[in-house]
Amino acid sequence: MTFKPLDRVGIAARIARDIPEGWFVNLGIGIPTGVSDHVPVDREVIFHSENGVIGAGPAPEPDKINPYLVNAGTQHITLRTGGSFVHHADSFAIARGGHLDLCVLGAFEVAENGDIANWARKADDPTKQVGGAMDLAIGAKRLWVAMEHNTKGSGESRIRRACSYPLTAKGVVKRVYTDIAVLEVADRGFVVLDMVEGLTRRELQERSEAELYWA
């Protein structure tokens, strides 16, 4: 193998490249949270946080923390000039009402029909961490997923013909950014838009349970 997978920061940076100025974007917890760090400050992208923050900015200097201002991961943030605050129902009206140009979520698995599984590993998972993922998944104009292409331990593919974990939503993922490729979810299935340098088509297919197509 002569290719080098992206690390989590690298995936976030790769996603940031594809977000144009003016988009209104929600970033999920995990890899997606890092995306905003890689959007240049002179490219105005407005970040939404489920807890009612419109225009979330970067973390404050440690001596300038505002305890009343956190993001959906309850991390301290700042507010961009032009940002505003709404209550929780209005905040989810933004998410569910189709007002987000983009939502980026982490996931366990994505299927070739756009299904996403990102909140539980089995139906009776003792962890019940649905949060706002189901709302964001059905509501955003575009749903992109950021995740490693394969599981850490057994190397199983997260790019599936069908999800094996409980679904977050059906048929909603438009694009997947992994550590080795960028895949579009099209009518026929996963279409490869980009791969890391040095990776071959065959190697990418070997790492993917679903069949891949090339653009």
């Binding site: 032009g82 505003s84 605050f85 509501g139």
Partner: protein, 218 residues
């Protein structure tokens, strides 16, 4: 740099197509009168107009109706002797009368992604005839669907380049919820302010719902 300001009313209303559903706020005040005049000039026809009231004999709603380009009026209130009332009586205007709170809630539902809801308002009345109902907690309820706009024409007191808005006193009325409910939300604002001038906790309509803004000083 995001800048939702457009130079004039024509640019603000460019592309509005025949057959559009137009959401128009206003309740004694807060009506986007300049945009409404612009819509008459713009020429789109076969419109569905969603507005609180069918209006009186004169005024901007009457002018738009008199132009003959409104096919259907959705509102809570029509006077028999108004232009709308006369056009309806003459078979020239389709009319959907919606209780005012249901009208507001259906518009908000469109903006909030609610696909339908049950309300006791209007159940057991002639407005419920032939409609789907369900008894919930002992109360008869009507099933109501969202009202999605192709265009919302919105009035504001202040606007910044992200489209954050404030509205004056009761001129707020339908403006924030109609802004939420349309594919294209066009604003006329009395004042232009710098980004950040509106305190973040006191934005009445966040820019996420706004697509174009035109400055109409007075």
């Amino acid at each position: 740099m995001i800048d939702k300001f457009v130079p004039d009313v024509a640019a603000a209303l460019a592309g509005i197509e025949d057959g559009s559903v137009v959401l128009m706020p206003g309740f004694g005040n807060g009506m986007p009168e300049t945009l409404l005049e612009g819509l008459i000039a713009q020429g789109a026809k076969d419109l569905t107009l969603v507005v609180n009231s069918g209006g009186r004999d004169t005024g901007p709603t009457a002018d738009l109706l008199a132009s003959g380009r409104v096919r259907k009026l959705v509102c809570s209130f029509v006077r028999a002797d108004s232009v709308a009332g006369q056009q309806f009586a003459a078979g020239k205007l389709e009319l959907e009368i919606v209780p005012q709170g249901t009208l507001a809630e259906r518009i908000r539902a469109a903006g909030a992604g609610v696909q339908a809801f049950y309300t006791p308002t209007g159940a057991d009345t002639i407005l419920a005839e032939g409609r789907e109902t369900r008894v919930i907690n002992g109360r008869n309820c009507l099933l109501e669907y969202p009202i999605f706009g192709d265009v919302a024409l919105v009035d504001a007191w202040e606007a910044d380049r992200w489209g954050n808005l404030t509205h004056r006193e009761s001129a707020r009325n339908y403006n924030p919820i109609m802004a939420m409910a349309a594919k294209l939300t066009v604003v006329q604002t009395r004042h232009v302010v710098a980004l950040g001038d509106i305190p973040p906790a006191n934005v009445h309509t966040p820019g996420v719902f706004v697509h174009r803004v035109v400055h109409i000083p007075a």
